[in-house]
Symmetry: C2
Subunit: 455 residues, 2 copies
């Protein structure tokens, strides 16, 4: 059995060199949207794996190459799949960064840089855990596979197809998700599911050119008005989503789900304060009723509206075009393709067959059993490192290719990592706290060791 | 009685020097919005009037100075008020102009330049008519007043207040509007009324910052959705405007109005073609039913929508702010201030007291009696010049400070001018046809002469 005291000591002793390696990885400005430096970054990631004895390959995908790594463990040992990504968000406005975004900078006990937590820091956290086990034990206790993709942040969501096509290569007994960490109270928190998503743009063209409102106001169709009416037909102030059959496959939370939610800290008042809200919708007030609605109900969110004149003052124009961005978040067992069909049927049957639907991306909802032995193992390991029991959120509100791993590989998924709520993910001054990095790495090492030991 | 043959000959002989004077006026790039060159342009306009024996003053207003000119006619003669403006629209994209916008350029029988027709060419048309009468008769047959404002194109609509405050100075027996001309068949056409307008922006703020749609989609208020619902409450697909009492003061067209509309060419198929429409709204098809609805019904036109993410692809944002631009066109006897109140009452009573209304400008609707002796005089004069009877549109769909002149000065208003439908008003390559300029000037001279003669 692993000597965790020795492994922990290695993690602390090697922290400087781990951060130096992360600094080199962050220096690759790998925005997948622009394709900038993607191949160089994939090569660097592969070399990092090879330095730990992994056999690697760069597997072609519909987007950037997927770095796959395999390090066989002892004969008969189980296989743990680690999911990460090497692409990052663009840095955004340079003047909002206190240090250069692609030059990892440690100050005030934190490491700042684009990708510091999302997701390059998590790649290094896992490699540092592997380094510690190799130095402490001379061996890894299980087979480890890495799948590190290059299109997580962009719009080219092809991972579900990739996982389906390479199910043999990726076959495993359990999976660690790309990220994890502690909540705003410092307690480790894991989530066991993600909502799905259907992101569409609705577009309307009612004329070949805009008209003067004095000329056409009484007699011409108006794209902005038709868009308003089409949208209003989708959802009214009662917040009920009116697509035919939309709610048919929705599974309500179980008693166990509600029990797990009740054990989480109640963030509702923080949310009201942070976002300056007068209150929640649907008469929601606080506690489990808010947390349950937030993750177990599907949504139809208007993300954007565009039509006609949008500058200062007046322009008396009658718009020929209008569009809206809409994101539907789906819960188990809703199906993204079915929802897209329901949207088309709904619009047609309400007289809006002139509204074009542009499919901008879909992912299915997915969840693991929060009481699966692997999730218990992760929670037990967390308690050793953090001194408090890991909390399990049965679902989160966000979306990701969770479903693909569960559906095609049949693995349970847990989250372990270095994040905390103030980490500025996707924003300027993205960072992690060094203490969280060390704790997340110790946690990862324990998960690997216990998983290999079959405990 | 004026020798019209002599006056017409003067107009033709002096055309070159008239265009040269217009060239100097157009060279002043007087966009009222930016205040560029406004005072120099006002000074130049005043000097042009003084050169014809007008006493001038530049009367301060809430915007740029209003140039007022007075040239007394024979004792006891009636007074004709000429309304014009010296401000212009910005030139817009320079590369879309075939010749420099502020250098009046004659080619292919047309004169091109910003303000060529709107409205500097009309100022010169009137001055050329006065020149012709002075040379032919040595005298003007009536008292002539000019009111030439500098804020017609901008958002600072203060002319109604100005007219009310200076009703004594402006007192007259009849008024010629700033523009006029021929329709697409080359026949002179006059309009006897303009709709009013209430232009507002509706603004909503539901949170202090945007949220991630995965976080707030099920529980946060969404400014874009609330805007959609507020707008939908104003007008549904039936096109009925739901403000309380909105239609109470609407006067339907009279039998005479419909008779006048029936005499106009039917432009409905041209409109469908020009704007690439599949059809009109409200089941309208062609002819008088379209023309009557187009000008005698009030509107609620969505001119613009803005909220959240509007770029390419996806952004999973839940918007904290949303806004819409709306223009209500009003018909006699609707009252702009009353409509603004109705809008507030409507929004409040439908649960949208969080929607802010920003008043961006108002004008009342107004119309002259199309059978007023002055309008008949203008039509008779037109027939002499154009060889065909002038058509009278009892209303137009556009808006202007028409009501102020009718209400505060009690004058009938007619339109005479140099325009035609292809003149590119407000667009690059604005121009008039030289033949229209000559005809409009001859027409103006006849109107002055007959009006002075009391016929």
């Amino acid at each position: 059995m692993t000597n965790f005291a020795a492994a922990d000591a290695v993690i602390s002793r090697r922290l400087e060199s781990t951060l130096e390696e992360l600094r080199q990885l962050v220096a690759h400005p790998s925005y997948s949207g622009e394709g900038q430096g993607m191949q160089a970054c994939a090569d660097f990631v592969a070399r990092m794996l090879e330095a730990r004895g992994f056999q690697t390959q760069q597997v072609p995908s519909a987007g950037h190459p997927v770095v796959f790594g395999l390090r066989p463990g002892p004969a008969g040992s189980p296989t743990l799949l680690l999911y990460n990504h090497y692409d990052v968000q663009p840095a955004g406005p340079a003047e909002l960064w206190a240090s250069p975004p692609f030059d990892l900078t440690v100050r005030d006990g934190c490491a700042f840089g684009r990708g510091a937590v999302d997701d390059k820091g998590h790649i290094l956290c896992r490699l540092a855990a592997i380094d510690a086990l190799l130095e402490a034990d001379g061996e890894l206790p299980c087979t480890v596979k890495f799948i590190i993709e290059g299109d997580e942040e962009g719009e080219n969501v092809h991972l579900p197809d990739f996982v389906a096509r390479h199910a043999g290569l990726l076959a495993a007994d359990a999976c660690l998700w790309e990220a994890g960490g502690v909540n705003h109270l410092g307690a480790p928190e894991c989530h066991a599911g993600m909502r799905g998503i259907v992101y569409v743009e609705l577009r309307l063209t009612t004329a070949s050119q805009d008209a003067h409102s004095g000329l056409g106001g009484s007699i011409f169709p108006n794209a902005a008005w038709r868009l308003v009416w089409a949208l209003n037909s989708l959802k009214g102030p009662d917040e009920h989503i009116r697509l035919p059959g939309f709610y048919d496959r929705v599974r309500p939370p179980t008693a166990r789900d509600l029990e797990l939610l009740a054990a989480l800290p109640d963030s509702s008042q923080d949310l009201l304060h942070t976002y300056g809200l007068r209150g929640f919708i649907k008469g929601l007030r606080a506690g489990v009723e808010v947390q349950s609605e937030a993750v177990f109900s599907p949504t139809c969110t208007l993300c954007g509206l565009t039509s006609g004149y949008q500058g200062p003052g007046c322009m008396t124009v009658l718009p020929a075009q209008a569009s809206a961005k809409i994101d539907f978040r789906l819960v188990p067992d809703q199906d993204p393709s079915e929802v897209l069909q329901q949207l088309r049927v709904h619009l047609d049957s309400h007289g809006f067959d002139d509204v074009e639907i542009i499919d901008l991306g879909k992912e299915a909802p997915g969840r693991s059993d929060p009481d699966h032995p692997f999730l218990r193992l992760v929670a037990d390991s967390a308690e050793e490192v953090y001194g408090v029991r890991q909390l399990i959120a049965p679902m989160t509100g966000g979306s990701g290719p969770y479903h693909a791993f569960i559906h095609h590989l049949g693995v349970p998924i847990a989250t372990v990592g270095i994040g905390y709520p103030g980490m500025q993910m996707h924003a300027p001054n993205e960072h992690f706290r060094l203490g969280d990095f060390v704790a997340g790495t110790r946690h990862t090492a324990r998960v690997l060791a216990r998983f290999g030991a079959g405990a």
